[in-house]
Amino acid sequence: MPVITYREAIRAALSEEIERDENVVLLGEEVANFHGAYKVSDGLLEKFGPKRIVDTPISEAGFIGMGVGASMLGIRPVMELMFWSFYSVAFDQILNNAANVRYMSGGLINCPIVIRGPANGGTNVGATHSHTPENVLANHPGIKVVVPATAADAKGLLKSAIRDNDPVMFLENTILYGEKGEVSDDPNLLIPLGLADVKRQGTDLTIITYGRSVLHSLVAADILEKEHDVSVEVVDLRTIRPLDFDTVLASVKKTHRVLIVEEQKPFASVGSQLAFMIQREAFDELDGPIHRLATIDAPAFYSPPVEVEQLPNPQRVLKAALAAVA
């Protein structure tokens, strides 16, 4: 299988889907002539022309709103946000309109839009550019939320997202764009939304995580195995909504100890929801309290060395994991 970057995997998914379906278009700031702020769409304008790859003004409310309207009329737009942090400018368009259209039209109108872009900290771009809104998005019924950790998942999930008939929020990560992995070049290979992936088998502790934290968790899991004789299972949620709780539950019943790792502020996060669901459904399977590691609860630190410590990292995961198996 070809080894390509996460960035190339997303580009491949876009390219294959734009080629496959004439209704699929890519819109966003700088996606066409500049090839994307993070070069995700490099070469796509040349390949598909300005009708399919469209630069928009710096106006998220305007172009997301346009995308939502277009999707209601049968277009399948993929909207790029330069940073997910700017989704709040289009909050009404995404979470009031797109999320509710199918329900409020009695199922007559659906909204097959994908909104994608990076949502992460760790690159010292400051508090206003480092939001991770997966919990906010997932709080809205009608919205699907995907946070891929690997190149293969990014490709397979983005293709499913584009083919999905509901609004799908696709949260990438600028630090992961350069991460390489084996990715199938089969244009028909999809990864369904709502299916978690056990990235590592283990027996003593379940780490439930998603996005870049999956990579940190895998590094920590190797250290735990070698130096602490703790066998860790890493469950990558991949999709926050729909949530594959069956896989989570099966792993909890196997290891009886849980650590949730998320690059996200802890208050009312995906992790807090998971912790509730696990204790509710598997109370008698727990051999200790559910532990959680999140981003330290403060606006994103600008100082590079401090920001590293604010986010989950392998050392923080290691420490939290040891507490969870105590």
Partner: protein, 430 residues
Amino acid sequence: MANIIEMPKLSDTMTVGTLVKWLKKEGDVVKSGDMLAEVETDKATMELECFFDGTLLKIFSPAGSQVALGAALCAVGKPGETVETPAPKAAPAAEAPKADAPRQEAPPASTPAPVAAQPTAAPSAPASFGDRIKISPLAKKLATEKGIDASLVTGSGPHGRIVREDILAAEKSGSAKAGSTSKSGGASSFAGGAVGAKGPIQQERTVAVSTMRGVIAKRLLESKTTIPHFYLDIEIDAEPLLALREQLNKGLEKAGVKLSVNDFILKGSAEALRRVPDVNAAWEGTQIRYLAAAHVSFAVALPDGLITPVVKDAHDKSIFQVSAEAKSLGKLAKDKKLKPDQFTGGTFCVSNLGMMGIPKFYPIINPPNAAILGVGTTVTKPVVKNGQIVVGQTLTLTLSADHRVVDGAVGAQFLAALKAVLESPALLLV
């Protein structure tokens, strides 16, 4: 902060409780699981259990007082802590607002079972766990499945929490087996080895005191040491009773009726209590309660103890009803399926060792009853009837009575009344 213990709701219809007696006094060190006081409800007298470790700092409600539901009874805390007398609660009848209002006023330690209130992440207040066993949900489930008594397991988790590993280790080592009392202790009595067998009669061991044995020990010690017992016995001619029993059982065999001697005694006791009701009473410290109904309990031996199910309103039931009820209660007792209201609330108790061949014995009073009847075996022996020595069948009944409530003459009247009804047992059929 001291924990204020309030009058709990001990029966579903209770609005006030009578504080019969304090079992602890101010200054006593108490721990979770200790019985603090006896509380009489509209149904029964029950013990008030302490859910905290500490010192009984202050008693707010003296013995004999009537206390509204939720009103403060006492405070348990650290020695030397000052305790303010809590403001009296609103009228107990106010059912509706209890969902939110009173809770917010005093969130900690307001009810007798506050154990779940404190989050585990508050290590600064470990005392709120009292004597609870810290055990993970999984370990708890495993302990139940494997029959392991978690109270005997040492926890290796954070703050001494028992975790799965500890239960598995306990299972492997064979320690902490729950109910080992009944399995090893019960078999010894008659099974015995062959005549002339050598070797130790049993393996020397210690067995943890079970909850039931603990309750028996506590209650009977308290009864025997605090109640001034006196004892009476009377021999009755058992022939009429045995004859009537045989006649009824034969005649009603098809109806499935099978009366035991004990059924006659239970019904007879209720009838005798009707004739001498002063025995149907309870000592309450500053007053004596005379009870309107004869709820007759009877002792049932279990492998690891005994329990006394109650035939409620035996005075108002036919002997056949009493018999059927005693039979079903006895079975529930042996299966350990009695509900609390089936073994509480008795006003008089019958203990029968006749089936073991014991001619007579003096049982210990089962508080708060004022008396207990001991029933011996039926003995075939020479008796004098109409000036002739003939073969007769006799039964000795004994009464252990609380002299604070029942004087000798009253006890004697009761036994005489019981003798009268049992020697003319047809009276029990009307």
